[in-house]
């Protein structure tokens, strides 16, 4: 299996490391400029291509790690060429685009695997298994929290460009919308708020969303870009009628670094608590995608899950604008 990766940022770099653990061969990279892709291509013995079209004839699978607003066009092009597609989350910037992406792949008979990597994190996967095994009964109220600092990228910070990334209610919180759906099923409606709606120039951002599920469960999703660097925190609390699951990335970290300042350096060696696992969840994800594409093995999410997560995000964005809850059905009818 020959794979071509689009995008050489954090995600492209992470994905190629995952592919290296599979029998697949990463044959090429496409980036905004060919120059940007050269270092990674060299490291993995791959080529650089000027654009996706040029790379398509040489690959079986296209792995899209480009900014969100570029996904649809690339998916359509890859699908039209009969290539399977792996796409970073969010699948697309809007419901309409995500729907078109799903349809393009279905029509072309190619797989579309959306990289909702949280499903592959061992703590999240274990909690879901505990629920599937009935350990907490029927899920009733889910709380999911993900917090960090405002994304920084050296040049052209597309994360902070709402039109491209969807902002905090999409780009950050989509992880937990998807997880809430995985636990409690389809979502009916979303009510959301975010700091930058009323305070566009706030130095921080924070989003809150309440989801209702057809199962009767309700979910509370919180996303923070308000913590000091290098904080990264995840928490969840899954409450059912027969029990409760709690997770806190800080409380469960096996290593806490309380390191003295380095000699001659006034800056403290700030260390995040770390929680090492034997396999990077991104690698677990790529391996499962590989097995699905190479051997038809089951995979823990499909393209409709990617679409649904975009719908929830868009509903959240609309709700934060209007102050009223937004139904997912209204988005599909639009």
């Amino acid at each position: 299996m020959k794979v071509g990766i689009v995008g050489v940022g954090f995600m492209g770099t992470t994905h190629v490391a995952g592919w290296a653990e599979t029998p697949a061969q990463v044959v090429g990279f496409v980036a905004e400029t060919q120059l940007e892709a050269e270092a990674l291509a060299k490291q993995y013995g791959a080529k650089t291509y000027p654009n996706l079209s040029a790379m398509l004839p040489d690959v079986d699978v296209v792995d899209i790690c480009s900014p969100t607003h570029l996904h649809l066009e690339m998916i359509q092009e890859a699908a039209a060429a009969g290539k399977h597609v792996i796409c970073e989350k969010p699948l697309a910037r809007t419901t309409a685009e995500a729907y078109q992406a799903v349809q393009a792949c279905k029509k072309a008979g190619v797989q579309l695997l959306v990289a909702h990597v949280v499903r592959f994190f061992p703590e999240y996967a274990l909690a879901r298994n505990a629920i599937i095994n009935g350990q907490i009964g029927k899920p009733a109220v889910l709380r999911l929290h993900r917090g960090s600092y405002r994304p920084k990228k050296p040049a052209g910070n597309w994360f902070l460009d709402e039109a491209k990334s969807g902002g905090i209610l999409m780009d950050l919180m989509i992880h937990d919308y998807d997880y809430a759906r995985w636990i409690a099923g389809d979502v009916l409606s979303v009510s959301a708020q975010r700091v930058t709606e009323a305070h566009p120039n706030a130095p921080v951002d924070y989003g809150l969303a309440i989801l209702t599920h057809t199962s009767g469960a309700i979910s509370h999703i919180a996303g923070s870009w308000a913590y000091p660097p290098p904080t990264f925190i995840t928490r969840f609390e899954l409450a059912g009628d027969r029990g409760l699951i709690e997770f806190d990335s800080q409380a469960s970290a096996p290593i806490h670094n309380l390191i003295l300042k380095s000699g001659g350096n006034d800056a403290p060696d700030v260390g995040l608590p770390s929680s090492p696992v034997s396999e990077n969840p991104y690698t677990t994800q790529i391996k499962e995608f590989y097995a699905a594409l190479a051997d038809g093995k089951p995979v823990r999410l499909n393209s409709d899950d990617g679409l649904a997560a975009v719908q929830i995000s868009e509903a959240a964005i609309q709700s934060a604008q209007s102050g009223q809850p937004v139904t997912l059905r209204s988005l599909m009818e639009a």
Binding site: K138, P139, A140, V141, R143, H145, G147, S189, S191, A192, Q193, V195, A198, H199, A202, P203, V204, Y206, L208, I210, T212, G216, A217, I218, H220, A222, S224, A226, Y227, P228, A239, G240, D241, G243, L244, G323, Q324, P325
Partner: protein, 332 residues
């Protein structure tokens, strides 16, 4: 100063006895309860004088009373106390309807007696610390709160907490007012809109009221907040529940876990972990403030109006459950 306790319908009445006993220059005049069996038994247990009726207690000349009836039965006792010029500390929520809440506030204003709402969180040492830093400008503007006031099903204390008539609802009625009051106190702004969703999955077979609930509100000053009011804690969780919030400000985030000051105790007897609270007793400070307010002839730090505003926000949450929409909070 002589203080009476009216009713033991709310279990806080029992705790208040020991608070009063530890205060200097304060006399527990006695207790009265419409449930004479409960009242006499608890009076005996706590060695307090039992009055055969509320009237009898009020005739004995208390300076103030603490009203601990069910949520929907505060009003007649507030009216009775106010008409005799007796100051009132009323359990929360002060009422289950707009009409009763407004009447309670008005009757005390007209009678010139103090009406204080029993919002103990105003006297939480951790919360007072955060509020002081906020007022000092350490955090800049407050943008939002991500708050929880979760608990176990409260029926182990009293069964009426899950009775829609006596309690006025379920988890939302039980848990919304505390955080609404805290956020009003912190922001100095009023709740403007409220959205709420609930379910009855926890304890579905045992109760008819909502047991799971999430609320989203906005304030006049553009701050917003969510409250998780759920009765989601299993009976075997290490404690009854808790109150937490993440306060998002211009300068970052403050996370507050108001009941975190606990020991973890593992005992052969319990066969499970238990959190034993060693933080300061807010009820004690709250009652002391009530007594100090009428001793100094000034309004208490938390008033009847605060209780009324919290009821208004809570009732807007129920209106939202019905409509499925974000509701504007109706003012009485």
């Amino acid at each position: 100063m002589k203080i009476g306790i009216l009713s033991f319908a709310h279990h806080h009445g029992e705790a208040y006895i020991s608070n009063l006993r530890r205060m200097e220059n304060v006399e527990l005049l006695g207790v009265a309860d419409e449930d004479s069996a409960r009242g006499t038994a608890l009076a005996k247990q706590y060695e307090a004088h039992y009055f055969p009726s509320y009237e009898a207690l009020l005739d004995a000349g208390p300076d103030g009373v603490i009203i601990c009836t069910e949520n929907n039965r505060h009003r007649p006792l507030v009216e009775m106390s106010a008409s005799r010029g007796v100051h009132v500390l009323c359990e929360k929520p002060i009422a289950t309807t707009y009409e009763d809440a407004k009447a309670i506030v008005d009757v005390c204003k007209n009678a010139g007696v103090i009406l204080m709402t029993a919002f103990p969180m105003r006297f939480s040492a951790p919360l007072i610390e955060v509020k002081a830093r906020l007022d000092n400008g350490d955090f800049g503007d407050v943008y939002c709160f991500n708050a929880t006031n979760q608990g176990e099903l409260p029926t182990k204390h009293r069964t009426w907490f899950v009775d829609p008539e006596f309690a006025g609802g379920g988890a939302i009625m039980d848990h919304t007012v505390h955080l609404v009051d805290i956020m009003r106190w912190f922001t100095g702004s009023e709740v403007e809109t409220m959205y709420a969703r609930s379910n009855r999955i926890f304890h579905a077979e045992e109760v008819e009221v909502e047991t799971g609930a999430l609320e989203m509100m906005t304030f006049k000053n553009k701050a917003f907040a969510t409250i998780d009011a759920s009765w989601c804690r299993p009976q075997y969780w290490p404690t009854w529940g808790g109150l937490t919030f993440e306060m998002v400000t211009q300068r970052g985030v403050v996370f507050v876990d108001a009941f975190r000051q606990n020991l973890n105790i593992y005992s052969h007897d319990a066969q499970r972990a238990n959190w034993s609270y060693w933080g300061s007793d807010m009820n004690h400070t709250m009652i002391a403030e009530f007594i100090l307010a009428f001793r100094e002839n000034r309004p208490p730090k938390v008033t009847g109006d605060d209780g009324l505003r919290a009821v208004e926000a809570t009732l807007a949450a129920y209106a939202s459950l019905k409509s499925g929409r974000t509701e504007v909070v109706a003012r009485t």
